[in-house]
């Protein structure tokens, strides 16, 4: 549905994105992650037809068309990072304009106003809106057409909790309907909740592409079980290390890093040695930690 083929973009002498080759399949929800300046917004803008690739190409839709062509943009709805609308227009006027431009049905306006919780303020000028309201109006504009591809640049950055809940509901609904979603976010919670796959960009290069299953596996590998035992038995740590090679002792605790699937075997070994468990705490790997590791691997 979206394909980047050796896509590169240079601003002056600075390369924002270098040789990006990847694709987003129809019905997938993909998150673009990366530190500030890693090329996420440039990548999204190229897919929205807003910038010209310096090298390679970006194609959208089925059949695939160059993203710069208006016909390709019929397949997309794009929400930029900094949403803005003319101050002199009311929220409803903004929506009516974009509805007419996209040829959407008239009844879409009240529907998206309701979704964005802007029914009561649609006749007010955009100038009087808060940052969160402008963001919600932007989301409403993006939702007007039933475009198969939704592209969102940090969509949750300015949303309040109500807006966030509505947004999550919306993306999940779109995914359930088979729509494609490509979004950037600094909120790792968005990624865990919404994405089927994450693409990690660092300094304009793709350094990781992980599906939700691969992500789960990586996070599980970063899980830790901490045990407090009723007594110390010589040789126990060695036996446990046969199952969990990185197990170690930290004070009175036995620390067993590794995936959750290995833990029952560790517990079996403890019990088989006649040792009682006083306390057990297990925690899974965290996405923020994994993210930092992946970034650090590429850019120590």
């Amino acid at each position: 549905m979206i394909s980047f083929e050796d896509f590169g973009k240079t601003y002056g002498r600075r390369a924002a994105v270098r040789s990006l080759t990847c694709s987003v399949l129809a019905g997938e929800a993909v998150a673009l992650l990366g530190p500030n300046g890693s090329g996420k917004t440039t990548t999204l803008k190229a897919a929205a037809g807003l910038i010209r690739p310096t090298s390679g190409r970006v194609r959208i839709g089925d059949p695939p068309r160059d993203a710069r062509l208006p016909a390709a943009r019929r397949a997309i709805s794009y929400l930029p990072q900094k949403v803005a609308f003319p101050d002199a227009l009311t929220g409803r006027e903004v929506l009516e304009f974009y509805r007419a431009l996209r040829g959407a049905a008239a009844e879409r306006v009240p529907e998206v106003l309701k979704f964005a919780s802007l029914n009561g303020s649609s006749s007010r000028g955009v100038a009087s809106y808060s940052g969160g309201m402008v963001q919600r109006l932007g989301l409403a504009v993006a939702l007007l057409p039933d475009a198969p591809v939704l592209m969102l640049d940090e969509p949750t950055a300015a949303l309040d909790p109500d807006g966030l809940c509505a947004f999550y509901g919306l993306v999940e609904k779109r995914r359930a309907e088979g729509h494609t979603v490509l979004f950037t976010s600094h909120q790792l919670g968005d990624v865990e909740r919404l994405a089927d796959r994450l693409l990690l960009l660092v300094e304009g290069r793709l350094v990781a592409s992980l599906t939700q299953a691969e992500l789960g596996q990586r996070l599980a590998e970063r899980g830790v079980m901490r045990l407090r035992l009723d007594r110390d038995v010589p040789g126990l740590l060695g036996k446990i290390r046969q199952v969990a090679p990185t197990a170690t002792r930290a004070g009175e605790e036995l620390v067993v890093p590794g995936p959750a699937k290995d833990r029952p075997r560790v517990l079996d070994i403890v019990r088989a040695n006649g040792v009682g468990i006083v306390n057990l705490v297990a925690s899974e790997g965290r996405l923020d930690v994994l993210y930092r590791e992946l970034v650090a691997e590429d850019h120590p």
């Binding site: 803008k45 929205a48 807003l50 910038i51 010209r52 943009r73 930029p80 431009l101 040829g103």
Partner: protein, 279 residues
């Protein structure tokens, strides 16, 4: 898709609404009307008389004012409108509409808004002149209005070139616009006249004719004066042009070609820039 729901028409309507609500456009209409009335009233005051001048005299006096005011207004309002906030631009240009259609639509809306402001300004003053001085010379007033519209189209097209670069900052575009305005409306004439005084009659005439044709502000000003006064038009540039073209018809055609050039070429450049711009 009907004509009214075409992307060009939709963008034009949106821009017209925005321009009509803009304080700049409202101020422009009020200032335009007030200056027209002031010019109409001042002619007789300066000669020791009273009352208002008729349409023809007012139009002649207003020609210079129109050439001074309309370009700067079209440039400033054009750039303010066309170089809107990045977020608004990104949303607009990510729609399945060609960039060319969006640009043409916005320019059309701005043109209609500025034309309406001028119609209100000149029309208001025109009603007072009609009431006090009658309808004599009304056609001259209409020619002035037409010239004002042509100047609006030319300088909106130039504003489009300056504002269509994508990453161009609004303040920078405005600064360039003011330089363009100062250069075309004031500096160019001073330089040409200074050059002409240093030359003999023949080359000086050729310089003046060339100057009229290459400078859009001069072309419109000369066209207005020739339209109002015909072959009796005075002014070094007008006289030189009339001599060169052997009459007002040839002069009109040349001036028409010049103004058309100054509308179409900047428009083509603006389209090229916006289509290549990174937004």
């Amino acid at each position: 898709m009907t004509l009214g729901s075409s992307p060009v028409a939709l963008c034009a309507r949106q821009e017209l609404v925005l321009a009509a609500r803009s304080r700049w456009t409202q101020i422009f209409a009020a200032v335009f009307g007030a200056l027209a009335l002031a010019v109409a009233a001042s002619g007789y005051v300066l000669s020791g008389g009273g009352g208002l001048e008729d349409y023809a005299r007012t139009a002649t006096s207003l020609a210079s004012l129109v050439i001074l005011l309309v370009p700067v207004t079209a440039l400033v309002i054009g750039i303010l409108a066309l170089s809107s906030d990045r977020g608004a631009t990104e949303i607009l240009f990510s729609q399945p509409v060609s960039r060319r259609a969006i640009l043409f639509g916005r320019l059309l809306g701005l043109f209609v808004a500025l034309a309406a402001a001028q119609a209100i300004g000149l029309g208001g003053a025109g009603l007072v002149i009609f009431w006090r001085a009658g309808s004599s010379g009304l056609s001259a007033y209409a020619i002035l209005f037409a010239g004002s519209l042509v100047a609006t189209a030319i300088f909106l097209a130039i504003a489009a070139v300056l504002a269509s670069g994508g990453a161009v900052r609004r303040a920078r575009a405005l600064a360039i616009a003011l330089i363009v305005w100062f250069g075309t409306v004031i500096l160019f004439d001073v330089a040409v006249l200074a050059g002409a005084t240093l030359l003999r009659s023949g080359p000086a005439s050729r310089l003046l004719v060339t100057a009229v044709l290459v400078n859009p502000a001069d072309a419109v000003r000369t066209a207005i004066l020739l339209g109002i006064q015909g072959p009796t038009a005075f002014g070094s540039a007008s006289l030189a042009l009339l001599r060169f073209t052997r009459g007002p018809v040839g002069a009109g055609l040349l001036l028409g070609a010049s103004t058309l050039f100054w509308i179409l070429v900047p428009l083509a450049l603006a389209v090229r820039r916006i289509e290549r711009a990174d937004l």
